[in-house]
Amino acid sequence: MTSTVPDTDQAPAPALRGPVARPGSRLLHRMVWLRLSLLLSAPLAWMVLVYVVALAALLITSLWSVDSLSSEIDRTWTLDNFRTLIENEVYRNVTVRTIGVALAVTVIDVAIALPIAFYMAKVATPRARRMLVVAVLTPLWASYLVKVFSWRVVLSEGGLAEWTGLGSPGYGLTAVVITQSYLWLPYVILPIFAALERVPDSLLEAAGDLGAPGSMVLRSIVMPLLVPGIVAGAIFSFSLTMGDYITVNIVGGANQMLGNLVFVNAGAANNLPLAAAIAMIPIVVMLVLLTAIRRTGALENI
C-alpha cells in the first residue's frame, strides 16, 4: 500500500480526495427518523415487554381469584384480593413493618454513605479514591446469599457479634435492618459520590472565602447540591428493601415482610392472584413516594 513508486498498474489506488461513496451511510445521514428508529427499536421493544407488559400482567392477575375447592384460577375480574388486603389486619401490619424497615435501612445507609462519599470525592488522593471505589464495589461481586448467610453467622447467638462484646441482636427485625443496610450501602454511596464529584472544589473554596466556616459550607452549599444524589441513593435502598424476602427469611426470625407474603402465596399457598395483589403494594408505595419527591422539587436542581 505504501510503496511510493507504483511499479505495477494493478487496481488503481483508492482516491484520497473527493467524497467517499457510501450509499447506506448517506441514507442514514439524511433520514433522521430512520436513524433513530434503527437505534431505538430494539431497546424500546425490550422495555415494553419487560416493564409494561409484565406490570400489566401483574395487575390483571391480581384481579383474578382462586377457587378454594379446586385450587384453579378463576379468570373473572374481581376486587376481592384488594378487599382482603385492606380488611385483614395481617396485611396492614406487614405493610407498615416493611415500610418501617425500609425507612430505617435508608436512613442508616444515607448516614453512613455521606461521610464516606465526601471523603472519597473531596479529601482522598486520586490513588486512595480509586482504591475506595474498588472497595465499595467489590462486595457487589460476591453472591447475595453468601453475604446474607455470613451475616446470619455474625449475628447468631454465640456468633462474631457476641465475641466482640457487642452482643447478638438475635434473629429478628434488628438483624434484618443491619443486614439490609450492609447489602444496599454501595448503591447509596455511589450516587452520592457521583453527585459530590460534580461539585467543583471552587464552590467550597468560594464559600470559605466569603467567610463560611466548614460546618456552614456543608449545610448551605454541599447538602443542597447533594440532594439529587441522596434521593437517588435513598430510592435504591428503599425499593430494594421493600422487595426483598430472602434476607428476612434467613435472619428475620418469625417476622415477615411483603416479599415473604408474595413468596408464600405464589408458592406454598398456591394463590397467585393474591400474591400479585400483594406485590402491587410496594409498587403503589414507591409511586406515591416518587410523586412526593417530585412535588418537593428536590430533583429540579440537578
Binding site: 470559605g208 472565602d209 466569603l210 466556616p213 447540591l225
Partner: protein
C-alpha cells in the same frame, strides 16, 4: 533572581484620597509576602517570593501557566498553606489562618457561583454568613448588583446568565463585603475578546472607585500592561521582574521577561558583539525598527544601526503590518509598521529593505 523587595513607593495616583475605613495613615502594605515557598510533592510551585503590595494598588501577577502565580494568589487567599515563609495582610500575620478568617475575597476563574441559589442570594451569601438581617442583606446585595449593572437580574439562576454576566455576579459577590483586598484569578480568561476589553475598562474603574487593592492573576501580558499599576512577572515559582508596566515593557531585565511581555527581537551575545560591540544579550522591540527601501544608502546617523535585510513574511494586522525579516548576515528580525492607510502594503515577501533602529532603543539584558 529573587527580587529584593522595594518598599513600595506607592506609584498609584488613584486611591490617594485616603478613603474612610482602611487607611490607617501608616505606610503598612496591604499584602506582604516574605520568603514564600510552596511545595506540591517534589515540585516547588512557589520558590521564594518576597513581595509588598501597597494599599489601593492594582497589582498584576503575570506569567505562563505553571509559573506559580495562581499558587501565590491561593496562598494569599488561604486555600493553600505555605511550606515556608509568611503572608501578612495589613500588618497581621495570617500564614496559618483559614480562608474565612482573612479579610480578602477572591473572584474565581470559573466564577464559582452557587448553582442552587438565585443571583441575589449568591451575592448576599457572605452577608448571610456574617449574620446580617434579611432586609439589610437584600439591600446591600442589590446595591452591589447595581454597581456591576446587573440590578435587574437578581432573581435569575446563575445558569441563566451569560459568561460576562456571571463574571459580574462573581465580582459583586466579592465586593459586597467591602474587602481591603480583592484577588482575581484570571477572571477574564473565559470571555471573548470584545467583552474582555470592556470588562478590563470596568474593572479598572471599579478598582478606582472602590479604592481597594486588586491582585490580578493573568497570563495575558496585554491585559496586565493595560490594567496594572505594577506587574510581577513570574517564572518557575519566582518573580523575574517587578515594576510598572512601562518599566516591564521598555526595560526588561531578562530575556525571559522581554520574550514573555510583548514580542521582541533578541540578540545573543555573539550577535550583540557584532552589532553593538558589547558581548551581552540585548533586545529591541519590533516597533522600534524602521524599514526603508534598499536603495536608501545614506550613511547611518549618530547612534543608528542599519542592516540590509530580505522580507520573509508580511502579516497584515489591521492597525499595521508585522514584517518578518532576515538580515544579510542571517539574523531573524520582526518589525512592526504602522498602517499607512494605503491599500498597497509597503513590503512584499522577497523585497530587499534596509532596517534601521536607534542604539538607544536596544535594551541590555542581564
Amino acid at each position: 533572581m529573587t527580587h529584593a523587595t522595594i518598599p513600595t513607593p506607592g506609584p498609584t495616583p488613584g486611591p490617594a484620597s485616603g478613603t474612610s475605613t482602611t487607611s490607617t495613615g501608616t505606610s503598612q502594605p496591604a499584602i506582604r509576602l516574605r520568603g514564600l515557598v510552596k511545595h506540591f510533592g517534589d515540585v516547588a510551585a512557589v520558590d521564594g517570593v518576597d513581595l509588598d503590595i501597597a494599599d489601593g494598588e492594582f497589582f498584576s501577577m503575570l506569567g505562563p501557566s505553571g509559573s506559580g502565580k495562581t499558587t501565590v494568589l491561593r496562598l494569599i487567599a488561604g486555600f493553600e498553606t505555605a511550606t515556608a515563609g509568611t503572608v501578612e495582610l495589613g500588618g497581621t500575620d495570617v500564614t496559618r489562618s483559614a480562608p474565612f478568617e482573612r479579610d480578602v475575597h477572591t473572584v474565581f476563574q470559573d466564577y464559582a457561583l452557587f448553582p442552587h441559589m438565585s443571583v441575589l442570594d449568591n451575592v448576599a451569601y457572605g452577608l448571610r454568613v456574617r449574620g446580617l438581617g434579611k432586609k439589610e442583606r437584600r439591600e446591600r446585595a442589590q446595591h452591589a448588583l447595581d454597581t456591576v449593572q446587573l440590578g435587574h437580574l437578581g432573581a435569575r439562576r446563575p445558569t441563566q446568565l451569560s459568561g460576562g454576566q456571571r463574571q459580574r455576579v462573581a465580582l459583586a459577590r466579592a465586593i459586597v463585603l467591602e474587602p481591603r483586598v480583592l484577588l482575581l484569578d484570571e477572571p477574564l480568561g473565559a470571555l471573548d475578546l470584545k467583552l474582555r476589553e470592556q470588562m478590563q475598562v470596568e474593572l479598572k474603574q471599579l478598582q478606582r472607585s472602590l479604592g481597594i487593592t486588586f491582585v490580578f492573576v493573568t497570563h495575558d501580558q496585554e491585559e496586565a500592561l493595560t490594567l496594572s499599576d505594577r506587574i510581577a512577572v513570574f517564572d518557575a515559582g519566582r518573580i523575574q521582574q517587578l515594576g510598572s508596566p512601562r518599566e516591564i515593557y521598555e526595560n526588561p531585565t531578562s530575556a525571559y521577561v522581554a520574550g514573555f511581555v510583548g514580542t521582541t527581537n533578541l540578540f545573543d551575545s555573539a550577535t550583540s558583539a557584532r552589532l553593538l560591540g558589547v558581548s551581552a544579550e540585548h533586545a529591541v522591540r519590533p516597533e522600534r525598527l524602521r524599514l526603508s527601501a534598499a536603495s536608501d544608502t545614506r550613511a547611518p546617523t549618530e547612534g543608528e544601526i542599519r542592516l540590509g535585510a530580505v522580507v520573509t513574511e508580511t502579516i497584515y494586522l489591521g492597525a499595521g503590518n508585522r514584517v518578518h525579516l532576515r538580515t544579510d548576515d542571517g539574523i531573524e528580525l520582526v518589525a512592526l509598521e504602522q498602517s499607512t492607510g494605503s491599500l498597497d502594503s509597503a513590503e512584499h515577501r522577497g523585497d530587499h529593505v534596509t532596517v534601521r533602529f536607534a542604539r538607544a532603543d536596544v535594551v541590555a539584558l542581564t
